[in-house]
Symmetry: C2
Subunit: 233 residues, 2 copies
């Protein structure tokens, strides 16, 4: 007797943006592993708003650091725990915010579990930038437009080069490149800047106001979509 493991994408934060398939996998799981701390977990906030038995949820805390050693030790020890549970026939779900294959740190666990020959499947979800576009009615990319998604590491010069080449640019983890964004915006007002924070929560914010965006300190959960504008004469 062997259980199964599902990597379940929860979507960007708004509970109803979970898919039917993901909800079903959560409801069928005997144990739901969910990243967070005792006081803070975006994944748990989503689960709590859904018709799910919360007694099945096991929070785990992953140390945050550029050096991934401690984080990976945590993941390894949870994988060992999960392997033992699966051997006794338990069905396990592991949650990820947004989509589990799109910049998701729990994917390290999926790789590890797969390398242990454990049966793991993943269920797709709505990434945060897609949800951001929808809340503001933005057509992110259309027809023959090209898209670039950057994980918060960018200089003003690189941004200029991409937009001049006609790319629509999505910048995630915006707080990591605040000063470069401010520097870029000062001399490139011709583009369409769409700023979002805390998408899918009650603190959700969307702004296209140039003055607001250029002065702001960006919080952890913020992103920007920039559509290229015409070059100034």
């Amino acid at each position: 007797m062997k259980g199964k493991i599902s990597g379940v994408s929860l979507g960007p934060g708004e509970p109803e943006l979970i898919t039917l398939k993901a909800l079903k996998a959560l409801q069928e799981a005997d144990i739901i592993y969910c990243p967070g701390t005792q006081t803070k977990s975006r994944s748990r906030d989503i689960l709590q708003a859904l018709p799910i038995n919360m007694e099945r949820v096991r929070l785990f805390h992953v140390p945050m650091s550029k050096d991934r050693t401690l984080a990976n030790q945590t993941y390894d020890s949870i994988c060992t725990e999960i392997a033992a549970l699966v051997a006794t026939g338990k069905n396990i779900a592991i949650t990820a915010e947004g989509d589990s294959g799109f910049y998701s740190s729990v994917n390290y666990m999926f790789d590890k579990l797969a390398s242990m020959n454990l049966p793991i499947t993943t269920i797709a979800g709505v990434p945060a930038f897609i949800a951001a576009g929808a809340i503001s009615g933005l057509h992110i990319v259309k027809q023959e437009e090209k898209l670039v998604v950057l994980p918060g590491i960018i200089t003003a010069e690189e941004l200029d080069s991409l937009l001049t080449s006609g790319y629509v640019v999505v910048i995630m983890k915006l707080s990591q490149c605040t000063s470069e964004i401010h520097r870029f915006m000062q001399t490139n007002r011709q583009h369409e800047f769409h700023y979002y924070e805390n998408v899918g929560t009650i603190n959700e914010l969307h702004s296209t106001n140039y003055k607001d965006i250029i002065q702001k300190e960006y919080p952890y959960f913020s992103l920007m979509i920039i559509r290229p504008g015409k070059q100034l004469a």
Copy 2:
């Protein structure tokens, strides 16, 4: 008395990959506008598998052509029809496959309806490339990786330049650039090629087999995710 309009993303094709929010919007709509022909509609196939009253579904056919004139005339006439219905208090849903803000032709209608001062909201969905990654357990982008999404217009040289710069590349509408992909693969075997067709349907296919992929004629619903490999010595 005025109705409301929802732009509803259906996800990539597998009915259960619709979000709870999108399903609810469809169930609450008096009329569901859905692109397709009498014989063929991917959107209708999805709707038929869901708990939705199919009598409320109105199919509309959009002429396919590079020249958007005829397509836009069709959209304009449906928008006029919808405006009249909304004025009598009807709630309208307009379906889009994948995500409605991500290369979706119905977005033209949303812009038109918004310009007519009609109340329209959009609901996010799972894009096809995200679902593709999930069916093969692929971590599409991780950590500090950058992503480019291209709508089927690419040369072998541009592809080489992007992958050499470390970008993960998603190519949609693969049938539009078959010969360039084949040409590129002949001399660039070091990269990881993930090929997908008909994601979310019973004809779903995923392959990472180099020989399979380089010989194939790509159908309309096909895409590729290429992760950059190490340069050959």
